[in-house]
Structures are given as structure tokens and as C-alpha cells.
């Protein structure tokens, strides 16, 4: 009978979680980390009986064995989160000294090429960020580690998993199995330059009843008032309306009762009346000269235009709030919701990222321990205190809403989680493949004055063909 001792991460992670309080408090004072290392471990014995491996149910507490040094690679794309990720890595070093973490920043433009080709080539990073657009697609291709068996086997881990917001957990579960551990979530508001607002002689929008008076008409009135011209040339714009879904048209379409796809994701529905009406409203900011054009946006980007006070309002994702706070030095800004549509609704897109493990990793246990740490109160707390993204856990998310952090109405990013909708992603074909047709048609609408209805009908013909499997 052969007996093989297997190093388990369970108690180790429990210890890490116990250390969470201390770590979290220490997060406010980086590098002064007092972590009580209660590193007791449990060994599961794998026994081979007549050639069939079985795991003995009982667990045995032992003194910690000398761990073999392992390297865990972690790939991510958020340039605005370098410090936060490095802090998580630093804290984890103290908890798992034999694990060398290599965090690799890959810019968004190259991220998916690199990830997919690395997965195909068998050299994927052990752990990496994943978004919802790619989740289902990668799960169906069987390249992500199934986290569910580990979660089922450990109450402490399950408790950590359960601490996440329900919608985020649901987003990273496919057929009852979890394949990515939620790390953060994003909601969308409008950022308003208070100095330009004041110059235009307008008050900050009435915040009563969740800004109920902040509707399409009011928003346009504000944008008009903040648009300035010098002869033919516009020197200041009211509101940026970009050809993008998350920080753009999606929010307006859904507020007006429109949708992108039907329920079972077999048909494109943005050519229906509510969506078309919303798009017309959205596009009108460009056509009426209240929004900068694509060229100005390609050259500077909405954030730079906002920081340099060339626009009064822009859509902003919660992940950009901290970065904007750092950049804005000579004026005040605040957040207002997506304007209420005639339907009486203000809806924004919600999205969230997950920490994921490549199925083919050679350091599965160490990779899982790292991902579990990131999902623990300690790891997630570091993120919450970093003023970058809103953590996915219900108990650490409030850290992001620290009242001393700007802007004043930061809480809108939380309030609107109840009024938010996920983008309807598809596994096969991938979202990126059909989403391109929306962007292409909206380019013609924004740049060449193509009629919205005509554009969306055209997009429908192409997208429905792809969704029905007639495409490549």
C-alpha cells in the first residue's frame, strides 16, 4: 500500500483569513504588517487500494512541513491598479513566504491575444484576471480550473465565496460550477465638473429621491449650458458621448427599456423602438455639437478632455474614480447618475472581474491559495482601501465608499448596483465578434449622420446571422 502525503492549503488559508483583520488594519499603514502566523496544516492521505486512488476522509493536523518554493504567475491589465496589486502581492509574501508571486501587467490591447495564445501554447499564467465577456467562452473551451470541488470541500473557503455579491457570483458560475473568483465590480455614473457647472450658472442637480429630477431633458439643458463656442470652433463641450457600450450608449438604451439581445441571446434587439429612441437621444449630443467628435476623443480620450476642462460631463466607471481624483487638481468634480429616461428609469451597466486559474497550471495548489487569498477578507480589503475598484465582497465593498474619499456622491456607484444590468455576453460566437457590428454602424451614425434605425437594422442582419450559427 502506497501512501502519499499531500500538502493541503485548507488550514493555511484559514490562517490567512484569521490574519485578515490584522492585515486589513495594516493596509492603512503599508509595510507595517503584524501577521500572526498560525500555520497549522492538514494532510489528506491519498491511499491507493488495489490500484484505485482514494482520499481518506480524516484529516490530520501536523506541524508545517518545509514547503517547496513555488512561483505563481499572475497576469492583469489594470494600469491604474498597479499599486493595489503590488500591495496584495506584498501582503501575501508574509503569509506564504515560499510562494514567489510574479505579477505581470499586460496592457488591455494585448491582454486577450496574449492570454488566448498562451493558453493554447500551454504556457498560460497560473492565475489571471478574467472579464465576463470572455468567461463563458473560456469555460466551454475547458481551459479554466473548476474551483467548485475545493469550495465544496472547505467551509471557510465557501464562506469567503459566499461573501461576494450574488450577481457577481452568478456571473462566474456556469452549470453550478465556479470557474473564476470575483474580485471587483464596476458601475457607471456621469462625472460633472463643478467649476464649469458654476460658470454656466447652474446648481448641482437635485439629489432628492435618487436624483429623480435628473432626466434626459435636464441633462441636455446642462450640457447645452456648458458648451461654449469661439466663432465656429467649440472650445468647451457639455457631455462626452463615446461610441462604446460600458461607459456609453448601453446605459441609455437600458434606461429607456431597450435591450441588446433577446432573452435567449439568439437575436439582436437594438433595432427596436426603445433602444432606437435612446440611441437618438445619445447621438443628439454629437449632432448638436455638445459632445466632442471621435477624432478629438481618439487623440485625447474623454478623461483627459475632462481633466483639462474641455468637457463639463463624461461617463465614468467606478474603476476610474481614484485615478481621476489623482489627476484633477484645480477644480472639484462630483458624480450624478445616468439621466432618467422617459420610462422613469436610470440603469447602468454593471460588470466585474474575477481571479482565475489556468487548468493547465503546474502549481495548482499554490495558485488556488493565492486566488483564495485575493477572495478573502484580507486580500479583498487591500483592494477596498486602495481607492481603485470596488471589491466584490459585501463586507469589503464599503471600504471603497470611505466618506473621506472624493467625490461627494461616490455612494451612487453602490446605490446603482440595484439598478444595473449585465452586458449580454455570449460564449459562441464570442461577444467581441458580433459587438463589432454595433460599433461599426454607430460610427456611421455618429460620423456620417446615418439614421439610427437604418443602422441598427443593418447591424441586426449581420449579428443575427452570426448568432444563429450561420457565420464563421
Amino acid at each position: 500500500m502506497a501512501v502519499q502525503n499531500r500538502f493541503s492549503r485548507r488550514q493555511f488559508l484559514t490562517a490567512a483569513s484569521l490574519a485578515a483583520g490584522g492585515t486589513l488594519l495594516a493596509a492603512c499603514q503599508p509595510k507595517v504588517v503584524e501577521v500572526e502566523k498560525v500555520v497549522t496544516q492538514i494532510v489528506k492521505e491519498e491511499v491507493i487500494v488495489e490500484g484505485t486512488p482514494q482520499v481518506i476522509e480524516k484529516v490530520v493536523e501536523v506541524t508545517p512541513p518545509a514547503e517547496k518554493p513555488v512561483e505563481v504567475r499572475y497576469m492583469y491589465w489594470g494600469t491604474e491598479q498597479i499599486e493595489a496589486v503590488n500591495s496584495q502581492v506584498e501582503f501575501y509574501k508574509d503569509l506564504a513566504p515560499t510562494t514567489t508571486l510574479t505579477a505581470q501587467l499586460v496592457p488591455w490591447d494585448q491582454y486577450w491575444d496574449k492570454l488566448w495564445t498562451a493558453l493554447a501554447g500551454g504556457d498560460a499564467p497560473d492565475t489571471f484576471w478574467l472579464n465576463m465577456s470572455n468567461f463563458a467562452s473560456l469555460v466551454t473551451k475547458d481551459v479554466l480550473m473548476n474551483l467548485q470541488p475545493s469550495l465544496d470541500a472547505d467551509e471557510a473557503l465557501q464562506a469567503d465565496w459566499d461573501a461576494n455579491f450574488d450577481s457577481l457570483k452568478a456571473a462566474y458560475v456556469l452549470e453550478n460550477d465556479a470557474y473564476s473568483w470575483p474580485r471587483d465590480y464596476d458601475t457607471i455614473t456621469l462625472a460633472v465638473n463643478l467649476s464649469l457647472l458654476s460658470e454656466a450658472g447652474l446648481p448641482f442637480p437635485d439629489s432628492a429621491n435618487d436624483f429623480a429630477a435628473w432626466d434626459w431633458a435636464t441633462c441636455k439643458q446642462y450640457a447645452q449650458a456648458m458648451t461654449k463656442k469661439d466663432g465656429e470652433r467649440t472650445t468647451q463641450y457639455g457631455l462626452v458621448t463615446e461610441n462604446t457600450s460600458q461607459t456609453g450608449w448601453f446605459n441609455w438604451v437600458y434606461s429607456n427599456g431597450g435591450t441588446v439581445l433577446n432573452e435567449d441571446k439568439t437575436e439582436f434587439t437594438m433595432n427596436e423602438a426603445p433602444a432606437v429612441e435612446a440611441l437618438r437621444e445619445y447621438v443628439s449630443y454629437r449632432r448638436e455639437g455638445m459632445s466632442p467628435g471621435s477624432e478629438a476623443l481618439a487623440t485625447m480620450g474623454s478623461s483627459d478632455l475632462f481633466v483639462t476642462q474641455r468637457v463639463g460631463m463624461m461617463h465614468i466607471g467606478s474603476w476610474n474614480v481614484g485615478e481621476l481624483n489623482d489627476k484633477v487638481t484645480d477644480f472639484e468634480w462630483d458624480a450624478v447618475p445616468i439621466p432618467y429616461a422617459p420610462t422613469g428609469k436610470s440603469i447602468c451597466m454593471i460588470h466585474g472581474l474575477g481571479n482565475t486559474i489556468a487548468k493547465g497550471t503546474k502549481v495548482a495548489e499554490a495558485a488556488f491559495a493565492w486566488v483564495a487569498y485575493l477572495g478573502s477578507f484580507a486580500g479583498s480589503g487591500v483592494l477596498g482601501n486602495s481607492d481603485t475598484v470596488i471589491p466584490s465582497r459585501q463586507d469589503t465593498a464599503p471600504l471603497w465608499f470611505n466618506p473621506t474619499f472624493k467625490p461627494e456622491h461616490r455612494s451612487l456607484f453602490l446605490t446603482w448596483t440595484d439598478k444595473s444590468v449585465f452586458f449580454p455576453n455570449t460564449a459562441e460566437p464570442t461577444t467581441a465578434q458580433w459587438n463589432k457590428y454595433i460599433t461599426d454602424e454607430l460610427t456611421l451614425v455618429l460620423e456620417e449622420g446615418k439614421d439610427v434605425q437604418e443602422a441598427m437594422d443593418s447591424a441586426k442582419a449581420s449579428i443575427d446571422a452570426i448568432l444563429s450559427g450561420k457565420g464563421i
Binding site: W112, T117, L138, P429, A432
Partner: protein, 317 residues
């Protein structure tokens, strides 16, 4: 037991007929050529054969390729994805305009750089310098030059001719012309090859032409151009192949937009391969592009019989 084929037997017989020294020399030859042979097999021939097979599959790079026969090709030719053929049209349009422009401008600059004036080396370096800059950095610079509001190009058009320039990279009609203008930026490499060709033309030909009473235009038309025709031919073939493989400019500046107006074939192939992970379909596009380049190259080679003159060549008729 397998029996040796006729070819193997012939090879063995030849090897037996060689002396020890010759065999050793042969072995050294293969050994020294082996880096290229291995590189050619590993990075060219095998990937090409693989991509030919993949072009007949549905493959997302993560799962096993599914053989689909000629479906990818028929999908392209029946207009299933009209952007593919559109991309060939755009690439051809770009090539037809940019290649002759580059050839002419390169020759013009080379003729200037071939003058015997003081400090000509400085001018030559200056004209060649753009060719050594990275494609991405150059593309970023041109984005600013093409900016309709603050860009240098529109500023110059207004200052010199009172013409309001277009939104170069946003307008569907102007985006390819903009990229053609940009392609002239690194004409220095073409110029350099012309310059080498110009300096290889024997001066006695010009002296003889002068004695015969030829003026500058005659000398250029009857001596320079014929003597330079192999170099023009070389630049033409390279130019066509390079233009048909245009990628970086469009990828950085326009991503194929607006509305696919600058969707070059290479860029569209890349999008299918690495954005949407339709590697099988992307391979089919790659093979169509390969065949297209091959046909054009063959046509140019065939046409060269009539207009390319090699030194010392004897022609009948």
C-alpha cells in the same frame, strides 16, 4: 523490411562514388546550411503546410480543429463575410496608388542625392532616417499630423492654400489616402537602393551620350532609366509585396475603421485570428492573400521581360 527507393539508391550510389574528403566536405556543407534549413522548415514550410490544413478547419486555437473542407473559402466567395473581399479591394487600392508614388518619389530623391555637392552625405542621412524609426512610433506621430483640428497637415493646407483639410482618419473617403500619404514617409529605404543603382551606372555611357548630343532628359530617359530598370523592378516587386501586407498603420491609427474603410487584408486576418479566435478562417484569408501576391508577382515578373534591361544582356530583334 522496407526496400530502398530508386532515388535513395541513386543517392547512395553517388555517395559511394565520392572520396572521403568530398563526403566530409558535403557533410560540412549540410552542417553549415542547417541553421537556415531548420529555420526554413520550422518557421516557414511547416507553418505554411499547417496553415493550409487549418484553412480547411474551424479552429478557435483552444479546442481541436474541426475539418470543414472548403467551407471557409466558399463562405468568403459567397459573400458570407463581405469584409474579406472588401479588404482585398482596399488593399489593392492602397497598393496601386502607393507603390508607384513610392517608386517615383524614391527615384526623384535618389537623383537629387546622387548630385556631387558639398555635404550630400548629410542630406542622404536625413532622407534615410525616417526609415529606421519604429512603425508604431511613426503611426502615433502621424495621428497628430492628421488631426483635423490641431494637425500639421490641415494647418499647412490652410496656411498655404486656404483649403480646409478633411478629417483624415475619421472620414471613409479620406482614410486610405491618408495612409497612402503616410506610406511616403519611409521612402528613404527605396531611395537608398536607387542610389546604389545610380552609382553603379558606368559614367562612360553618359559621356558617350553627351558626345552623341544627348541633353539631360535624353540621358535620363535613354541611359539612366534602362540601366536602373533592374533596381526599379526589385523595388516594384518588394513594394507590391510590402503594400499588400500593410498592417501596422491601420492597426494603430484606425483599427480598420471607420466602418471597415481602412480594413486591410492583413488587419482583418489578424482580427479573425487573435481577436475573435477564428484561426481556421484567418488561415483561409492568409492563403488567399498568398495566392493573390503570388499571382501579382508572377505577372510583374512576366512583364519584366519587356522593360527590364540587364547589363551585358543580348536581345534579339
Amino acid at each position: 523490411m522496407a526496400t530502398a527507393s530508386a532515388a535513395q539508391k541513386g543517392w547512395l550510389a553517388r555517395m559511394r562514388g565520392l572520396s572521403r574528403g568530398e563526403r566530409r566536405e558535403n557533410a560540412w556543407g549540410w552542417l553549415l546550411a542547417s541553421p537556415w534549413i531548420i529555420g526554413f522548415l520550422g518557421f516557414t514550410l511547416v507553418p505554411m503546410v499547417a496553415s493550409l490544413y487549418l484553412s480547411m478547419t474551424d479552429w478557435d486555437i483552444l479546442t481541436t480543429p474541426k475539418f470543414t473542407g472548403l467551407k471557409n473559402y466558399s463562405y468568403i466567395f459567397t459573400g458570407g463575410d463581405p469584409v474579406v473581399l472588401k479588404s482585398f479591394g482596399i488593399t489593392t487600392y492602397y497598393s496601386v496608388v502607393s507603390v508607384p508614388l513610392r517608386l517615383a518619389l524614391g527615384l526623384l530623391i535618389a537623383l537629387l542625392m546622387n548630385q556631387n555637392v558639398k555635404g550630400i552625405f548629410v542630406f542622404r542621412s536625413v532622407y534615410y532616417l525616417p526609415a529606421v524609426l519604429s512603425g508604431v512610433a511613426v503611426a502615433m506621430m502621424w495621428r497628430w499630423i492628421f488631426n483635423s483640428e490641431f494637425g500639421l497637415l490641415n494647418y499647412a493646407l490652410w496656411a498655404l492654400f486656404r483649403i480646409q483639410g478633411p478629417a483624415w482618419l475619421i472620414n471613409r473617403q479620406w482614410v486610405v489616402p491618408a495612409l497612402i500619404i503616410m506610406s511616403l514617409w519611409d521612402v528613404g529605404s527605396t531611395m537608398l537602393i536607387y542610389l546604389a543603382g545610380l552609382q553603379g551606372i558606368p559614367t562612360d555611357l553618359y559621356e558617350a551620350a553627351t558626345v552623341d548630343g544627348a541633353n539631360s532628359w535624353h540621358k535620363f530617359w535613354k541611359v539612366t532609366l534602362p540601366m536602373l530598370s533592374p533596381v526599379i523592378f526589385f523595388n516594384l516587386v518588394n513594394g507590391i509585396i510590402g503594400a499588400l501586407q500593410t498592417f501596422t498603420q491601420a492597426y494603430i491609427l484606425t483599427e480598420g475603421g471607420p466602418n471597415n474603410a481602412s480594413m486591410f487584408t492583413m488587419l482583418y486576418m489578424y482580427l479573425h485570428a487573435f481577436r475573435w479566435f477564428n484561426m481556421g478562417f484567418a488561415s483561409a484569408i492568409a492563403w488567399l492573400l498568398f495566392v493573390y501576391i503570388l499571382i501579382l508577382t508572377v505577372v510583374v515578373f512576366r512583364s519584366s521581360v519587356g522593360w527590364v534591361h540587364y547589363e551585358g544582356e543580348l536581345r534579339r530583334g
